[in-house]
Amino acid sequence: MAAEYIIEMKDINKSFYGVKVLHDVNFKLRPGEIRGLLGENGAGKSTMMRILNGIYSKDSGKVLINGEEKHFSLPKDARDAKIAFVHQEIALSSNLTIAQNMFLGLEKKKGMFLDDAAMRKAAIESIESLGLDLNVDTLVGTLSVAQQQMVEIAKALTQDARVLVLDEPTAALSEKEVRFLFQQMRRLKGKNVAIIFISHRLNEIEEITDTLTVLRDGCIIVDGTPTQGLTSNEIIAMMVGRNVTQFFDGEKPKGTDEIVFEVNNLCNDRVKSVSFQLKRGEILGFGGLVGAGRTEVMRAIFGLDPVEGGEMRLHGQRIVNKSPRQAIQNQFGFVSEDRKQNGLILVHSIARNLTMNVTSSFIKGIRYDKAKEKKIVDEYGAKLSIKMSGIDQLCQYLSGGNQQKVVISKWLASGSDVLIMDEPTRGVDVGAKSEIYRLMHQLAQEGISIIMVSSELPELINISSRIAVMHEGELNKIFEHEELTQYDADTLQKRIMFYATGERD
């Protein structure tokens, strides 16, 4: 007889270098259950999942699969126990085809040789069972991030998993793709597959999960509580242990009437005739589905991509940003969506990163004014309350939120008037999120004009003075400040989605 629980983790403890990261963790999961796993960054979610995956070994406690005690020392052991993981970062080889990726490490063989026909057949079945329209001979590198994510899930399914662990699978997905993913999750649930769903997006947790497990500081706060009936604020309170306002609750910056920056009919191969105006002291939100061309507009403005048509005006004067260098001279700043790739030099110190754009203000010829450098770092460190052990601490040791603050400081130090922020809160925890919102608000009040690209609707709605919505390279709609105040949050989300999917009045 099958056990009641497909997974049972009992009194799991784990320490790293004497620091306890999991305290007596107890976790139970039934077949066919969709469980939301929640906690701030560093709460122990990943450690817990890595123990389940066999990447980390536990210090004490038991892991029972289907009532039987198991010892996982390698990811292969978890795979053999029919537990499949889809990690946050895509772990596919871009130079291999979909079918090859799906059987990577599990290749089917005929005698000594690969049995490609059998693998292709199984891959096609799996892709079709997910309702995907993809050719299994396509190279993974040519797929969109969302498609790759689906291939990851298909791969997990070819292993005939009884438990599927999805670690922030929606981070890179557009709203439409999230819908599709949820549909698949419900279908798997119908087949009695248990799913552990990790996400920072509460609305998704509320929508898709049956029950919740909340971790805080390595302890289980609740395990298996039904999701229904809990409000977002109650869930957040469990995670952070105090009542916080879910998002930024202050009044939105209205901005002045002074037009700082203007874009008229901006075009290139990804952007179709985009026009908008940016006022002093406002936060102009850019919403839309992933791939709608929002980042591309920002790249063109900042001189990273060529502009083929249209004009830009700063304070009424026509300007051209042919390179980031020129954009910076024109007082633009760009907090890019991928801070590790484009925002920071992880192996360098906070001081180095923060002063990167203003080095020439304290190094003149061979005269290096270290005191002045420190003054700049201290000033922004204090203003943005960056948590650091010293200005020489390397950025790779900082949390996501603090890294983001260093990137923002870098642009503030160089005196940016127009600050473009692409997904400013991606990969930062709830606490740091609201801190960044407060900071953006403060900057707007100090007269900085902010353009914020965001894929999270609540973020857009809560922070923006006005919201521009894009669809397939076109700017479809701009919600003015008055319009934003006239709707309630729910209606507004629907209105934004309406324009983001390409509908028009």
């Binding site: 260098r325 910076i328 760009f334 992880l346 192996v347 180095r352």
Partner: protein, 323 residues
């Protein structure tokens, strides 16, 4: 107070290369104990002469590696420069003009490397590997494979450049090393350009987003490496009094190994010139010591190869730890 200041300076110079510095002391101590020829004036002068070439190449490679990628053409560049500087003199040009021309050609070769790498986006490894063969080939073509002896060295001025000493202790060529060290160290530590070199090597994409002129920084860094390789060639020629198209094989490997031993990261963005200097001294003392201990040259190659592997391995370990 001065003690305090000295202490701080000492700490700054050897920051992050504690292990290498310790290894150097051990090797020197061992050689002092196990040979009676190591700790002599003659050997000291000899050692300074021996490290000159690798030292200049290593300074150049340190700049290249800090900016992200190595320059593999420096070994054959040395060979070509030895040939050039001797041929120019045999053509009747003055010593000064011959050296100047060799250095100018060095700058052009380095700039060519840098230009191709930064403008075409071809990998630096391939560009400089190709240049390695081109330069070696030209050196052979110019000499038909044989050595070029300087026929007419008035007053032995060319010879003395590497071989005459100050007060019987310091070869003149060592002064060139000191000046090079001071100039490059200042550039790395105290100029905006140096700052930007580290930024480009640490994360070139972030550097682009910060408006740093990545292409021209790469161009200039490879030009510096070319200039230093030409200088190394001039001094090598003056030491043996001839141009040798066969010299310099594998010098780039030794120069890279010295830099990496001294804490310069193979993946860019990390390292100091003082660290490299320690690496250079380790490599120099090792080969000098092995000669004194009469270890077969072929075995010396094996030992050096192992040192390179070990140094890069430690760099790897260090990096995976910080991740």
């Amino acid at each position: 107070m001065t003690v305090e200041k000295n202490k701080r300076m000492f700490k700054n110079i050897f920051q992050g290369v504690g292990g290498a510095f310790f290894a150097l002391i051990i090797i020197v101590a061992a050689l002092c104990i196990f040979t009676d020829t190591f700790a002599t004036r003659l050997n000291f002068v000899n050692l300074l002469k021996q490290i000159t070439c690798n030292c200049l190449l290593s300074f150049g490679l340190t700049c290249c590696l800090i900016t992200g990628f190595p320059d593999l053409s420096v070994g054959s560049h040395v060979a070509l420069a030895t040939v050039e500087v001797c041929m120019f003199q045999n053509m009747g040009l003055s010593l000064e003009l011959s050296i100047l021309l060799t250095l100018v050609i060095g700058v052009v070769i380095g700039a060519t490397n840098g230009f191709i790498f930064s403008r075409t986006g071809m990998p630096a490894y391939i560009v400089t590997l190709g240049m390695q063969n081109v330069l070696r080939g030209i050196a052979y073509v110019l000499t038909n494979g044989g050595a070029v002896i300087v026929a007419n060295d008035v007053g032995m001025r060319f010879f003395n450049l590497s071989n005459a000493t100050i007060g019987n202790w310091i070869p003149y060529s060592t002064l060139i090393l000191v000046v090079s060290f001071v100039v490059i160290n200042t550039m790395l530590k105290r100029t905006v350009f140096g700052r930007h070199m580290y930024a480009v090597g640490g994360n070139s994409s972030t550097a682009v987003y910060s408006g740093i002129d990545v292409k021209n920084i790469r161009l200039i860094v490879y030009t510096i490496s070319g200039l230093l390789a030409a200088m190394a060639g001039v001094l090598t020629a003056s030491r043996v009094y001839s141009g040798q198209p066969t010299t310099g094989v594998g010098f780039e490997g030794e120069a890279i190994a010295s830099a990496v031993l001294g804490g310069v990261s193979f993946t860019g963005g990390i390292g100091t010139l003082s660290g490299s200097l320690i690496g250079i001294l380790i490599m120099g003392v090792m080969s000098n010591g092995m000669n004194l201990l009469q270890i077969n040259y072929y075995w010396q190659l094996v030992v050096k190869g192992v040192i390179i592997l070990v140094a890069v391995y430690f760099d790897q370990v260090k990096r995976s730890k910080v991740k």
